[in-house]
């Protein structure tokens, strides 16, 4: 086991030595071998992170390895050199996360409200009287009901709704207008 690790380290050491001397093929092999190692190390240290965040840190580590590859001496083992960079970049990403969070403010939901009674369709417990509305829509004439379903419930544009229903845009507009008027009257009567 120890021998395998030594062989692996020795391989990386030789690749880095060759990369420092300008051998691009060795450098390419080295970086590609480092990716799964770094990814695993980051995953172990930050198991709660998502794949995208882990990949960000892996890329930071690769950039750092590239930036400071002159500091590596082939006389020393490769693993501690890499581990120090990974540890540092993982800690750095944690600090960056805390900084970015401290600069953010929790958004408070300021809901749009209007005081007139007719705009307040919710019950006191916060629920909409959905049954009453469903019954009122069901009692509309077929054309008006179809217009409300397409334009208001399925939120289609007039053009799309006209295409879907085979009605003209003008008659759709009239149908929706009449349907809303009828619904308002029926729901008011119910109160």
């Amino acid at each position: 086991m120890q021998k395998q690790e030594d062989d692996g380290d020795s391989g990386l050491r030789h690749l880095m030595k060759a990369a420092q001397e300008g051998d691009r093929a060795s450098y390419n092999r080295l970086l590609r071998q480092l990716v799964p190692m770094v990814r695993n190390a980051v995953r172990v240290q930050r198991s709660f992170l998502g794949q995208a965040d882990i990949e960000d840190i892996v890329q930071d580590v690769l950039l750092s390895v590239h930036a400071v590859r002159a500091t590596y001496s082939p006389e020393r083992p490769f693993a501690p050199w890499l581990a120090a960079i990974v540890r540092n970049r993982v800690a750095d990403s944690g600090r960056r996360y805390v900084r970015s969070k401290s600069a953010e403010q929790a958004a408070v939901g300021f809901y749009e409200t209007f005081s007139p009674d007719e705009t307040n369709t919710t019950n006191e417990d916060g629920s909409v009287d959905a049954d009453a509305l469903r019954h009122a829509i069901a009692s509309l004439p077929a054309g008006q009901r179809r217009a409300v379903e397409l334009v208001k419930l399925r939120e289609m544009s007039l053009k799309e709704a006209a295409h879907e229903s085979g009605m003209s845009v003008a008659s759709l507009k009239v149908s929706v207008h009449r349907a809303i008027k009828a619904l308002r009257t029926r729901l008011k009567k119910r109160e």
Partner: protein
């Protein structure tokens, strides 16, 4: 647009033209001294070595100066170690030893002054010229140190920059004592040692801005 890890590797490999390895920390200390010492020597010669040679050869002065010079050397060594990934962090404590001797020697000087002259031996007078002089004498050593440290890894940028500044300021203080008129130990402690500590602390405070890692573009 965020690039994939594959793209990043391709770009890094394409931009690689080989790179010279950094020499060992002790060798880098020698290189730093090769730049810093001639400048410091020129300043000392230009300002004129102070006349009272008796004081220059006193044991306490020699201990203080040796400790100051060793602080500069050890701080430079520790700073160069701090930018190499995987090097033992314990080496960064090395300057504490000569620093303690330097501080202890100044403390003992203060005690002697107090025993000899009473309260009069412990008066502090304003000497605002000391810190700027340390800055002037330490300027080139500090610039050389900064350039050399930036070639390393910013593993602990605050500590690294503080150690680098300590090295340059201690060397500046070593030179300053050779042409600056003699002072009571408390004055040296407050203005000289205090100046060195202040410069190191300032460099440490801005260390993160002076030396940082490259960053991959973030995902939106």
């Amino acid at each position: 647009m965020m690039e994939t890890t594959d793209d990043l590797i391709r770009n890094l490999v394409a931009s690689d033209k080989g790179i010279g390895r950094l020499p060992s920390p002790w060798r880098r200390v020698s290189l730093w001294l090769a730049v810093a010492l001639p400048y410091v020597a020129l300043i000392v010669i230009g300002m004129g070595v102070r006349a009272n040679l008796d004081e220059l050869s006193s044991t306490r002065f020699l201990i203080e100066q040796t400790a100051t010079l060793l602080t500069a050397l050890c701080a430079a060594f520790a700073a160069f170690c701090a930018v190499i990934p995987g090097v033992s962090r314990r080496l960064l404590l090395l300057p504490l030893l000569p620093l303690t001797v330097w501080l202890g020697s100044l403390g003992q000087g203060c005690l002697q002054d107090w025993l000899r002259y009473g309260a009069a031996g412990l008066t502090i007078e304003p000497d605002w010229h000391c810190a700027p002089r340390i800055v002037i004498v330490g300027a080139i050593p500090a610039i050389a140190m900064f350039v050399m440290l930036r070639k390393g890894a910013p593993l602990a940028p605050r500590l690294t920059m503080a150690l680098g500044a300590l090295a340059a300021a201690a060397l500046g203080n070593f030179a300053l004592r050779l042409f600056h008129p003699p002072d009571a130990s408390l004055m040296v402690l407050v203005w000289h040692f205090g100046g060195v500590a202040l410069l190191s602390a300032l460099a440490g405070a801005v260390g993160r801005y002076l030396h940082h890692w490259p960053r991959a573009p973030r995902r939106a």
